[in-house]
C-alpha cells in the first residue's frame, strides 16, 4: 500500500528558480535512501512531505491525506522529520522536556509523554543526559536528541535528514538501531544521506536527486552499480562496492559481509 504519493510536484523559493522540477514518486513501506549532491533539493523535498512548504504545483498525499490542505502541525502525528541541523530544532531547556514536547502536542497526557520520551532516549542511549540542557551536549548527541524527540511521537513515517553527519561509532549504532526498529514495526523510514556506505547497508531502495529531478530510483544494488550515472549526479559509489570492483568482481557488493563471503567462497573453490 502506498504511504506517500507525490504527483508531479514543483517548488521554488523565488519565482523563476525552480528547486524541484516535477517530482513523481510513490513510497510503500520499503525503507528509502535519498541521495544527491549539495543543493539537489533533497531537504526541500522532505519539507514538502512534512507540510512545512507547500508545492507550487502538483499534489502530495500522506497516508491518503492531502498534504496540500493540511498544516504541518496537523500532519505531525503521521510523519516525523529530523532536521539536518539540530540547532534548528532544539528549543527546550532540558533534554527530557525537548523530547516530551512532540508527544504532548499530539495529545499525549504528561505521564504517557514522559514514558515515550524516556523510551526514545533509551533507544538512542541518552538516558543519562535526560536532565541536561540540550545546548550543552556534543553535536552528535544533539542530533540524537532530535532523533529521539521524533521517535517519541511514534509517527507512521520517519524522515531523517543527514542522520550520520558528525556521528561517532556509538551514534551510528544508535541510528541503525532506530532505523531497524521502525522497519520491524512495518513503518516507512526515509533518510537523506551523503554517506553512501550507510545508505547501501541500511536501506532497501535508493532515490537519486539531481538538480531538482529524480534521475534514478531502484534497489541499492541496481543504483550503486551504475557508476557513470552516479558520477553525473556528483556522487560516489560505496567504498565496499569500489573495493569489490578493484578486486576484479563484476557484481555490486553493498556490505562488508557480502564481500567477505564472496571472497571466502572463491577462496574455497580455488583450493
Amino acid at each position: 500500500m502506498s504511504r506517500v504519493v507525490v504527483k508531479d510536484v514543483c517548488f521554488s523559493y523565488r519565482s523563476g528558480e525552480e528547486v524541484l522540477k516535477g517530482i513523481t514518486l510513490d513510497f510503500d513501506e520499503k525503507s528509502t535512501a535519498i541521495i544527491g549532491q549539495n543543493g539537489a533539493g533533497k531537504t526541500t523535498f522532505v519539507k514538502l512531505l512534512k507540510g512545512l512548504l507547500k508545492p507550487t504545483r502538483g499534489e502530495i498525499y500522506i497516508l491518503g491525506r492531502s498534504a496540500n490542505e493540511m498544516t504541518a502541525a496537523a500532519l505531525a502525528p503521521f510523519i516525523g522529520l529530523v532536521f539536518q541541523n539540530p540547532n534548528d530544532q532544539i528549543f527546550r531547556s532540558t533534554v527530557l522536556e525537548e523530547v516530551m514536547f512532540g508527544p504532548l502536542n499530539i495529545g499525549e497526557d504528561p505521564k504517557g509523554a514522559r514514558k515515550k520520551a524516556e523510551e526514545a532516549l533509551e533507544m538512542v542511549g541518552l538516558t543519562e543526559k535526560a536532565s541536561e540542557n540540550p545546548h550543552d551536549l556534543r553535536l552528535s548527541e544533539k542530533k540524537l536528541v532530535c532523533v529521539a524527540s521524533i521517535v517519541a511521537m511514534e509517527p507512521e513515517i520517519l524522515i531523517l535528514d543527514e542522520p550520520t553527519i558528525a556521528q561517532d561509532h556509538a551514534g551510528m549504532a544508535a541510528i541503525r538501531q532506530v532505523i531497524r526498529r521502525f522497519k520491524e514495526q512495518g513503518k516507512l523510514v526515509m533518510g537523506i544521506l551523503h554517506d553512501m556506505d550507510f545508505a547501501a547497508e541500511n536501506f532497501e531502495r535508493v532515490v537519486v536527486f539531481h538538480q531538482g529531478t529524480v534521475v534514478a530510483d531502484d534497489d541499492p544494488r541496481e543504483v550503486f552499480s551504475r557508476e557513470s550515472l552516479l558520477q553525473r549526479a556528483g556522487l560516489e559509489v560505496p567504498h565496499i562496492t569500489r573495493l569489490g570492483w578493484s578486486l576484479g568482481r563484476k557484481e555490486t557488493f553493498l556490505t562488508e559481509a557480502e564481500l567477505i563471503q564472496s571472497l571466502r567462497g572463491e577462496g574455497s573453490t580455488d583450493r
Partner: protein, 255 residues
C-alpha cells in the same frame, strides 16, 4: 551577510551624499519647525523633505510608512476635531461628534509636523546603507567598538527573523499549531521568545569572539578595507544647513 535595512539601491544624487550630511539634514528638518512654530515653516520643511524623497526615487518604498502614519493621523483628526479644548467654531457633524475649526487646524498642524519628521527620517534611512553610515562615523573618530555594536544591531534583526522561522518550523513539525487564528498565533509566539533571544545572544557572542581573534581591540594604526569614498557637495550642504538653522534662530529671537 544579510542586514536589516530599508535601504533602496538607486542611482541618485541623494544616494551619493555623505551619510553624515544626511543625518545633519534630518536634524535640521526636525529642528526648524521646533524653532519656528509657524505652520508655514513646518509646511515648507515637509515640502522640501518630500521633494527630496521624490528626487531620490524612493517614493514607492516610503508609501507603506506614510500609509501607516496616515492611519494614525486619522484618529488625531477625529479626536482633535471633536474634543480639542479650544474648540469654539462648530463646522459639521451631529452632537456630540461635531467637528470644530480650531481642532481641525490643530490636527492639521500635527499632521504636517509628523509627516515632516517621518519624511526626513525616511530620506536618511531609505537612501543610506547602514554599513556606510557606520563606516563614515568610525572614520570621524567614533570608536570601532561602538561601530561594531551599531553594525550588529542592523544584523541581529534579520538573524532573529531567520531564527524565528526555523524554530517555528521545528515546533510546527512536532505538532504545535502555529497557523490560523490570531489566538493560535499568539499562543505559538510565546514559547518562541526565549529560544529566539537565546540563539541571537549566542550568535552575537560567537561573532564577537571571532572579531576579537581578528583584532577588534587592536590599539595601533588601523587601515580600511574599503577606500575612502569622497562625497559630493559636503561643504555646501553643511554650510547651507548651518545657515538655515542660524537664520531660523535669529528669526525666532527677533520676531
Amino acid at each position: 551577510m544579510k542586514t536589516f535595512s530599508l535601504y533602496v539601491p538607486r542611482d541618485s544624487l541623494i544616494h551619493r551624499i555623505n551619510p553624515i550630511d544626511k543625518i545633519l539634514y534630518t536634524i535640521t528638518a526636525i529642528a526648524v519647525p521646533l524653532i519656528l512654530p509657524s505652520m508655514a515653516a513646518s509646511f515648507l520643511c515637509m515640502l522640501i523633505s518630500l521633494s527630496l524623497l521624490a528626487a531620490a526615487r524612493v517614493v514607492r518604498q516610503s508609501l507603506p510608512v506614510f500609509a501607516f502614519v496616515f492611519l494614525i493621523l486619522c484618529t488625531v483628526v477625529l479626536i482633535q476635531g471633536w474634543f480639542y479644548p479650544g474648540n469654539q467654531t462648530p463646522l459639521f457633524g451631529v452632537e456630540p461628534f461635531v467637528f470644530h475649526a480650531e481642532g481641525l487646524m490643530k490636527a492639521c498642524r500635527i499632521g504636517i509636523r509628523v509627516t515632516n519628521v517621518v519624511a526626513a527620517f525616511l530620506l536618511l534611512v531609505l537612501t543610506t546603507k547602514p554599513a556606510d553610515l557606520v563606516e563614515e562615523l568610525v572614520r570621524r573618530g567614533l570608536s570601532p567598538r561602538i561601530g561594531y555594536v551599531l553594525d550588529s544591531i542592523f544584523q541581529i534583526l534579520p538573524q532573529m527573523m531567520n531564527t524565528t522561522r526555523t524554530i517555528l518550523d521545528a515546533q510546527r513539525s512536532r505538532g504545535l499549531e502555529t497557523e490560523g487564528s490570531l489566538w493560535v498565533r499568539v499562543k505559538a509566539f510565546l514559547p518562541l521568545i526565549v529560544p529566539v533571544v537565546m540563539s541571537s545572544l549566542i550568535h552575537a557572542k560567537e561573532r564577537a569572539l571571532a572579531l576579537e581573534v581578528r583584532g577588534l581591540h587592536f590599539e595601533g594604526q588601523r587601515t580600511w578595507l574599503r577606500e575612502k569614498r569622497t562625497y559630493p557637495y559636503s561643504r555646501e550642504i553643511r554650510g547651507g544647513l548651518l545657515l538655515v538653522l542660524t537664520a531660523s534662530i535669529v528669526w525666532r529671537i527677533l520676531g
